[in-house]
């Protein structure tokens, strides 16, 4: 069995991942037609390319069905409980940067910090009889962030897309979402809290702790790490 590496199957994340490995002498490409999610790796033997949706990479790593995986740190840290116990971050890849931020309507002139958000949430709950709603798809990251900082009287409502629009549609009062620029926020009349940076995400190469490392996979990893210039942690 080869060393399986999971890589996003489309878009900029795939291109940038291929570029990153390519620049280090490991060529990755889709085999066959453009729509076929199979790939080949050249420049090193014993490595199998598995093309996956970026959001499936954390699950596949956790299950140990792939040995290595490239995806956003936001997805790994949100989807995997105790993520550091399940995967090992080998190297940040220097692309795919995006910030997960908390944002509220521009009209909330009284809210700029988490302190304000917390106080506004308390007053909101007293007035409306339910907790202030924050729309997000990053439930674990946002909840952990707010818990550690002692923010109360909020509830998370699930939003899997067009999250900025939930406030306008009155299904949420605030949002927590990925933004690579402030433009979408401004277009939706929202502003980021000054201390509401939940997570600074970027693409990372991860190793799965649960994968089978008993055969030649470990040696292959060492060769690959040498080629691409990644220092493996002790004991790997």
């Amino acid at each position: 069995m080869g060393l399986k590496i999971g890589v996003p199957s489309k878009g900029r994340l795939m291109d940038k991942t291929f570029d990153w490995f390519g620049a280090r002498g490991v060529t990755m490409r889709q085999s066959g037609a453009d729509r076929e999610y199979a790939g080949v790796v050249e420049g090193i033997g014993g490595v199998d390319l598995v093309l996956l949706s970026a959001s499936e990479v954390p699950r596949e790593l956790a299950a140990g069905r792939i040995h290595l995986g490239v995806t956003g740190s936001d997805l790994v840290q949100d989807k995997l409980a105790d993520w550091a116990g399940q995967v090992q971050a080998l190297a940040p890849l220097g692309f795919g940067q995006a910030d997960l931020i908390l944002a509220v309507p521009l009209a909330w002139i009284d809210v700029d910090t988490l302190d304000d958000l917390d106080a506004a949430a308390a007053a909101f709950r007293a007035t409306h009889g339910h907790r202030l709603r924050i729309a997000t798809k990053y439930h674990r990251l946002v909840r952990d962030f707010l818990t550690v900082r002692g923010v109360a009287d909020y509830q998370l409502v699930d939003s899997q897309g067009a999250t900025e629009g939930t406030v306008k549609n009155a299904t949420a009062e605030a949002i927590a979402d990925i933004t690579s620029s402030g433009e979408t926020l401004r277009a939706n009349h929202l502003k980021a809290l000054s201390d509401g940076l939940v997570h600074r995400s970027e693409a990372v190469l991860y190793a799965a702790r649960a994968a089978a490392w008993t055969g030649g996979e470990k040696q292959t990893l060492q060769v690959l790490a040498g080629l691409v210039g990644v220092t493996l942690p002790d004991g790997t």
Binding site: G85, H128, T147
Partner: protein, 366 residues
């Protein structure tokens, strides 16, 4: 860990001992409506409880504790005073790879009584101490009521007191608020900028200029909080002496007899604390009357602040010196919870739970 059968036998033994006191055995559903628990504990409970979807009843949770359903049951049709005991599984998600169980047996005891709260506190503690006596556990006690009384005693606005009381169970935000109210940390730059603009403009004008109003939070609510911020900026800071007294109280950790002397000293500077200190003294007397070495009981004023947020009086735990273990038993007074769940009615209440698995493990090791 002992075998499930050994744990069950220990649970049955503890439950029988509680029934022998005359407490009424009660059952609760394992599937609990999520709404009441979420409103009570906030979003944090989702990280700790199993949430599932019922096609008719909506979001449900696998019972994360007995106290809430037992209180609901009592508030709906309980006679007073009442003593209940129960035995059953609770379910807690473990968000970290750890040996902690995600389902385990609890045995518990709850007292609902209007009169003689000190005696009821002592009754629960002494009962647990007796059941656990052979295990040489380390008791820990605290009193959230003292902290709440100290907050009420502060010479400041009701708004500031309410903010502090709301965060008594979140030590980090409590500390941040206290430091700000005491003038030990400056306001955020954005706050100062806002106050600056409010010196020349109405909140309403600033809101209208900032952007369209979106969501359920109305311009009136935004303006009301903005005016409250102006009023708060004009509020003098807590005196250094008061802030120091509160710090002193929060850090108090001593045998209960010694702690009482210290609390009496604090109450000289903060006379409004006296009724809460008297209740503390009454409890020690009630504990001593039940044969507990009350003077020597370890007391920490901040004990129980980072656990469940419904305790608002006496809190206690019994700890084994095993790394990573939760308390073998814990409990406390939760008068306010009965008001929250009682829809207008309330009754003073105190109770606690034991973990039979840990008791059985310790017995196996003895």
């Amino acid at each position: 860990m002992p075998s499930p059968a050994a744990i069950r036998a220990e649970a049955d033994r503890l439950f029988a001992a509680l029934r022998e006191t005359g407490a009424e055995p009660v059952e609760t559903d394992i599937l609990q409506p999520a709404g009441a628990l979420l409103d009570l504990y906030g979003e944090d409970i989702r990280a700790r409880a199993y949430v599932t979807q019922d096609p008719i009843r909506g979001e449900m949770m696998l019972r994360p504790d007995f106290t809430v359903p037992v209180v609901q049951m009592h508030m709906d049709h309980g006679a007073e005073p009442a003593r209940y005991c129960y035995l059953g599984k609770v379910f807690r998600k473990q968000d970290h790879l750890s040996p902690r169980a995600s389902e385990y047996l609890q045995v518990g005891y709850e007292v609902f009584a209007r009169d003689r709260p000190a005696e009821a506190d002592a009754e629960v503690f002494a009962l647990f101490a007796r059941l656990l006596a052979p295990l040489n556990l380390r008791p820990a006690t605290g009193d959230i009521g003292l902290l709440l009384a100290a907050i009420q005693a502060l010479a400041t606005t009701e708004r500031r007191k309410a903010a502090l009381a709301r965060h008594i169970w979140r030590p980090r935000r409590f500390r941040a608020l206290l430091d700000r109210f005491a003038g030990r940390t400056p306001p955020a730059p954005s706050r100062l900028a806002l106050l600056d603009r409010l010196a020349t403009s109405d909140p309403e004008a600033l809101i209208a200029a900032a952007g369209p109003v979106l969501g359920l939070r109305t311009p009136e609510e935004i303006a009301a909080r903005t005016r409250a911020l102006v009023a708060d900026a004009e509020t003098p800071p807590l005196s250094a002496a008061e802030a120091a007294t509160l710090d002193d109280l929060l850090a108090l950790s001593a045998p209960a007899g010694e702690a009482l002397g210290h609390l009496r000293d604090i109450a000289v500077d903060m006379p409004a604390l006296t009724p809460a200190v008297d209740r503390f003294a009454d409890r020690l007397a009630a504990l001593a009357a039940l044969g507990v070495d009350a003077e020597a009981l370890p007391f920490e004023a901040s004990h129980g602040r980072s656990t469940l947020e419904y305790y608002d009086g006496f809190v206690f735990g019994f700890h084994a010196d095993r790394a990573g273990w939760p308390p073998v038993a814990s409990g406390g007074r939760y008068d306010a919870l009965t008001a929250v769940l009682g829809r207008g009615r309330s009754i003073p209440a105190v109770g606690g739970i034991l973990r039979p698995a840990l008791v059985a493990a310790l017995k196996g090791a003895v």
